[in-house]
């Protein structure tokens, strides 16, 4: 009994402080509506239970062993719902290795809540509205990204480079395609 009360008090305590740290999100649901109300960023298409449809670009990234940093970044930037949209979406997915190649501390810095907009901008720079396989991408000189910036497309022999990053694998998805790339594409601005 005593333990339960303590736990309850602790929950209230945490809830109270969390709510204060965040200007937009109310997190008082632990008090009034534990199970009924999930907080907003946990709602949306990304959280629809569906085990029969083709995996989305988000599912593919989540299931990949080599995209843990990317997935963490997508979650930190709250972009999950955009990535399960009908799209079509073409995601250029840098590997964990590609993120590791960035200067020390870069990723840790971007994952901080205060850098959410910056992180979101960089991630959107890896997304094109459209769905084209690697072969088809050779027809393009540039792609217009969701960041509102363009990235150049270059063909070197059999390889295709997008924004200077090489496509090393491609996985079609229900709502688009994931091209695995070997570098993070940093926007010019």
């Amino acid at each position: 009994m005593k333990a339960t009360i303590k736990l309850f008090v602790l929950t209230i305590f945490i809830a109270g402080f969390t709510a204060c740290g965040n200007s937009n999100e109310a997190k008082v649901e632990n008090v009034s509506a534990n199970s009924e109300q999930a907080s907003e960023e946990r709602q949306g298409q990304a959280f629809v239970k569906d085990d029969v449809s083709e995996p989305t670009v988000l599912d593919i990234a989540i299931q990949s062993k080599n995209h843990k940093t990317l997935v963490a970044a997508v979650q930190a930037a709250k972009l999950e719902n955009a990535l399960v949209n009908a799209g079509p979406l073409m995601v250029f997915a840098p590997t964990d290795e590609a993120f590791n190649a960035l200067p020390d501390g870069t990723v840790e810095d971007l994952l901080k809540p205060e850098n959410e907009n910056k992180l979101s901008h960089i991630l959107k720079h890896h997304v094109t509205p459209g769905k084209y396989d690697k072969e088809f991408l050779k027809k393009f000189k540039k792609l217009g990204q969701a960041s509102d910036l363009n990235v150049p497309v270059e063909v070197k022999g059999e390889d295709v480079y997008v924004g200077g990053a090489k496509i090393i694998a491609s996985v079609p998805a229900g709502n688009g395609i994931v091209h695995v790339i070997d570098k993070v594409i940093i926007p010019q601005n």
Partner: protein
């Protein structure tokens, strides 16, 4: 012990609320119905009326639905470009001509953008106009009867999408083509599209008394795709703005080839100038073939006539009438704020919103600050017309509406949200998710000088798990947000019919008093009406038989008919003699290859029956009209073709 726990709890609770900067409002917004009065705000008690009508397009159902807001209660589904078995629309002989086109009888279309008529920039609630996208048509729905009373086909158009928006005095309802096509249509190679196809922007005049539509002129623009449009108002009244994409003039793999240019255009058309030019004899008449269908409330009958020519205007012949405003990334919505100053381009492949200034546009035109031309039409310099940009507002902006308080509300398809922003500072104030993938949004009166900024309605393309599942096909939805506070609050989530592309809303008080209750029997001028029971009869003309029938609680006159033969074509002209509100009767005949009729008090409708077998066949009333509804029935005796039984009819005779 117990008391102290409560005390501590209370302390923490108070502390947590007090130390927050958040207003109570935003908390309520995030918690939905639980912590706020959302349920109360949408609850309309039994017998009470909603505050607003919402006319929500049915998309590929070809219909227009009428909902009450804030309750989300469905009040009526109006067939427009579709056959509707419920109301016999397009099945009965009277309304079949409404669906006539130059391609013949087309019982379906893709209904997109309803817009309510205006006087002096304010909603007057007389008519709703809506476009048929597929076989280009504009329909007018009368808001006294809530029925489609006129449909005009649009020639030289294809994919009638940039439609059907009205000017501030309903001088015109405007219909822009989505597809550019050869004008006139001809057999030519598709790849010769560029430079040869034309995009027709059609200005349909609306006669002020009855609202009759007539094509005043078609502006023959370059072969771009014209997506959406809105009228200028206030200071910009006299202009019309059209968003364009595929300024590349590609004809294949559009998803790549029409997205090559960083900027497409918003075309600004000074229709007053063109109207003057046309009134002075300008323009060129060309042969055409398009249907104009009118339903008459007195004859209860539609007529269809084919019109044979249309007046076209070459924009180069009217200098100073058309300009192009560069606008990033294939703009979809092209929305004008209530003051008429701002023109918002919703670049659907962009994260930003482009806001043009009418004042700057006029200055740029005056100072001839051009940045080249497209097929002779001056392109204004982007920087010279731009009021500003809403930066990184979301992903995939589609449409912006206004609350009349200086705020705009934009739907974002990809990031699936409604974003509220300030018109002057162009800063984002609030964002709320939509479940899921919102298309258009609607604020009652949003396309007018005087919006009613109480609610915004978001129309979603995808619902997935939002409702009880119904197999692979699940409903689309609309979501209602309260916008009276700084932050928006999601109040309600309700299913819709077809695909709700777009909507128009209006305070109920503007329409409600005008809603018709019955048709006066003495005003019934239907060619085959039976106004007195004594005139009920059956007439033969060769193998055509005409049954002149009446209906009243709870019998048909006549209800026994003999002398019909196999091979006859039997027309049942049925007049409802009721003169009471909400006492329709229906009728259906076994084996009739059509729908039932649903006949309003004082109205006459006709269906055709071609009996194929001898026998005695029943008919009955299909609408539960009265306590003796189940007794409201009759028989028709059908004899072999060779029989010589005379026609006879009766009621109550042994």
């Amino acid at each position: 012990m117990k008391k102290s726990v409560v005390y501590i709890l209370a302390l923490f609770l108070t502390g947590s609320f007090m130390s927050c900067n958040n207003s109570e409002n935003s908390k309520r917004g995030d918690l939905g119905a639980l912590a706020s009065s959302a349920a109360e705000k949408v609850y309309v008690a039994p017998g009470e009326h909603d505050e607003f009508y919402a006319f929500i397009s049915g998309g590929f159902s070809g219909q227009l639905s009428v909902y009450g807001l804030p309750s989300g209660r469905l009040l009526k589904v109006i067939p427009v470009f579709s056959q509707d078995a419920e109301k016999a629309w397009g099945y009965n002989e009277e309304t079949k001509p409404m669906l006539n086109t130059s391609h013949g009888f087309i019982p379906w279309d893709d209904a997109h953008h309803p817009d309510i008529s205006q006087t002096n920039g304010k909603l007057d609630g007389r008519w709703v106009f809506i476009n048929g996208n597929n076989t280009p048509r504009i329909a007018k729905i009368d808001l006294t009867t809530f029925e489609t009373t006129e449909i005009i086909e649009v020639p030289n158009s294809a994919g009638n999408h940039s439609s059907s928006f009205v000017t501030e005095n309903t001088e015109y309802v405007v219909a822009g083509t989505r597809f550019s096509v050869p004008v006139p249509q001809r057999d030519m190679p598709i790849k010769e599209y560029k430079g040869n196809f034309k995009g027709a922007l059609t200005f349909i005049s609306v006669e002020p008394e009855e609202g009759h539509m007539d094509i005043k002129f078609q502006l023959m623009m370059p072969g771009f795709d014209y997506d959406l449009a809105h009228p200028g108002r206030g200071k910009s009244h006299g202009w019309f703005f059209f968003s364009t994409y595929n300024t590349e003039e590609a004809n294949t793999l559009m998803e790549v080839n029409s997205s090559q240019n960083d900027k497409d255009f918003i075309a600004a058309v000074n229709w007053k100038k063109i109207e003057e030019y046309v009134n002075n004899g300008g323009g060129k008449t060309m042969p055409a073939n398009y249907a104009h269908n009118i339903y008459d409330d007195e004859t209860h009958t539609a007529t269809s006539i084919m019109k044979k020519e249309v007046l076209t205007v070459d924009p180069l012949e009217v200098p100073g009438a058309v300009f192009l405003l560069p606008t990033p990334k294939s703009p979809h919505g092209c929305d004008v704020d209530p003051s008429g100053e701002y023109i918002v381009g919703n670049g659907k492949l962009s994260a930003d919103l482009t806001v043009h200034s009418y004042t700057k546009m006029m200055a740029a035109i005056e100072n001839e600050k051009f940045d080249g031309e497209a097929y002779g039409i001056p392109i204004l310099k982007f920087e010279d017309v731009l009021a500003g940009t809403v930066k990184q507002a979301g992903l995939g902006p589609l449409h912006t509406e206004f609350d009349g308080e200086g705020n705009a509300y934009t739907s974002f398809f990809i990031s699936s949200e409604v974003v509220k922003w300030n018109m002057d500072t162009r800063e984002v104030i609030d964002r709320k998710p939509c479940y899921y993938s919102v298309g258009h949004v609607m604020i009652p009166g949003g396309n007018s000088a005087d919006p009613f900024g109480k609610y915004v309605l978001a129309m979603n393309k995808i619902t997935k798990d939002r409702y009880l599942p119904t197999g692979p096909e699940v409903t689309h939805s609309a979501q209602l947000y309260d916008i009276t506070g700084e932050k928006m609050e999601l109040l309600l989530d309700f299913p819709t019919i077809g695909e709700p592309h777009y909507a128009a809303g209006i305070p109920a008080d503007i329409i409600k008093p005008n809603s018709k209750k019955i048709y006066r029997l003495e005003e019934n001028k239907h060619k085959h009406a039976t106004l007195n029971n004594g005139d009920a009869r059956v007439e033969r003309d060769g193998n055509e038989v005409h049954v002149y029938m009446t209906m009243i609680r709870s019998h048909f006159t006549p209800d026994n008919i003999e002398g019909i033969k196999v091979g006859d074509k039997v027309y049942f002209h049925v007049t409802n003699h009721e003169q009471d509100y909400d006492v329709p009767h229906g009728i259906s005949m076994i084996g009739a290859n059509t729908s039932e009729l649903l006949i309003m008090p004082g109205q006459t409708e006709t269906f055709v029956w071609e009996p194929k077998q001898p026998g005695v066949w029943p008919f009955y009333c299909t609408d539960f009209c009265s306590a003796l509804h189940q007794e409201m029935q009759g028989y028709v005796r059908v004899s072999p073709a060779s029989s010589n039984i005379d026609l006879s009819w009766s009621l109550g005779e042994d």
